[in-house]
Amino acid sequence: MYVDYILLFSIGILLFFVALYIFAYFEFKGKKDPLPKKKYGLSIVVPIWNEEDTIVETLKHLIEMKKNYCGDFEVIVVDDNSTDKSYSLATDFAKKYGFIGVIKKKGQKGKSESLNEATQIAKYELLGCVDADAFPEKRSLDYILGYFDDKSVGAVTTKMVVKNPKKLVEWFQHIEYIFSNFLLTAYGGLDSIYVTKGPLSIYRKNLLKKIGGFYSQDITPTEDMEITFRIRQAGYKIKSSKLAKVSTRVMPSWKKLFWQRIRWNRGSLINFAKYRKMAFDPQFGFFSIVMIPIVSITISMLAVIIYYLITNFYSFLSNSITKIYWYIYLKIVPNPFVAVQKYFEVNPMYVLSSLFFIIIVAFILWIVAYIVGFYESKEKVTYKHIIILLLTPIIYTPAQIFFWASAIILQFTKYKTRWR
């Protein structure tokens, strides 16, 4: 029974979290991206490793970006010894467009080293990082660069949407990204962004050099999150653009998604543990006083929720499956009215009654968050979106909890995972 009360407390914390985001969103949603007061020179780095399927399209998008930008602009493609045609495809572009350069690394060292190598040879003051499977909108720079007029801004990140989702797993990620766009606006308003996203983020080059560049995978599995903490630690702010948007490819299978989320979730565990000293330090503002403690507590709460789900939800699920089996075996048509009536009759739990009330409130907040997410992502709501949205709590949320549980176990058992 005590677990029930811990669960209730955990849900209270999560409710506070969601309420905080929604209030923050409505407080800051009207803020516009500032227009740049000067022309910034920009070096875009595209680290690649066996990206022949997407690199051409990514470079085409960057060419469109260049056409819409009147400042200095260069693209540095860093090939990490691809074994496919990625290098030659990028080289073809480099021959045709003078602002595109391609370098080939000598050893396979991963994404962080590719970014660091490009930082050393980049000509301009701002350094943009674009994943090889990301396609930035052509006017994105107009919305991003104005933030750098403020000298205290160290990096700017953007909203993401999924490019042409087809499979069910891609649709789930699409819906997830739409939700994350709502979160990004809320985080931005609260000055609490803790990850500069890989598909498109722009940094001050000198700042990157000053803080030692991106850390390798031996130190952190998520270099984009880790560097955000260090930028904040160096006293700089992280901003998010309201209108800049980047489309990206997502994991096309559950297996690949699993390993990606293991990396992300372990990255979160490692980074929050590594920078725990920033918590409650007033010099880092709201981020350290509220966000780091709450995110850390939420990660702990996940353990409780996972335990509860395993002991309650899955036993409920297995009971339901057994019942369905027996109905089929005995060729009897179930009576749903009796089942629903019985469910309410035989669950006189105190906690369950409280949860019932909270779940109604959480459901309303969840709907509000998604409506806002669609608005922020400039996505039209289709019947497919609605179906996937309804399936999310049944399929995708349990999957995410499973990913978290696996990440926690793998982290404690020190199992090694790599980016590729």
Binding site: L15, L20, T322, I332, P348, S354
Partner: protein, 221 residues
Amino acid sequence: MDDGKKKIFYKALAFTFAIMFFALLFANLVYDWKKTDLNDDILDIYNKSTDLKITMNFYDTMIDVNSCDLMQNQLIGLSDFLYGLGKKVNLVADDKDNLEDVKKIQKEYVYNNLDLWLRLKKFNSLCPQYKKNYILYFYPYNCNECAPLETAIQDIKDKDEDSIWIFSIPSEVGISAVDNITEFYDVNYIPGIVINEKTIYEKDILEGMYKFLYDYNTPPK
């Protein structure tokens, strides 16, 4: 932390506390209501059980005079009464705070069932012109397999309420009479169903139930 963010923080905090407060208030109301309801149920079950015993004693006095018409009038509704009592007993059994009361009530309920079933058997032999169908349903608690069986029984009951008597008997309450009866009817698997002296083993349980009911008496209209 600037004032704007402080304001949002306190707003969210107030909102969360308000929701948690109302959730707990709501839970308290539900809990109190269920508790009161449960206590009423327990009292009600004891009263009904006593009521049933008196009715059955009265019935016994009539068996002596062998008045089938009168007996039948007394018997109508008795099975239903017991079936409804069984549902309440199951509800009370789900409340883990009243374990001692629950055990007593369950035993009382099983005795009532067996008592009435024996009387019914006697009535059927004495008054064959008013013969009644009966179903003895033995079930364990926390049983997934029971849901479809209960649906089937309910289905039969809804179709022909008066001529079928249903005795739902929990098998795990420590009454040796139950073990003896299940052994006698060769009910080697619980949940098990005995209809009119015959134990059902078929996969197609609903069909089997109707078969034994029809063999025994006229089918329901």
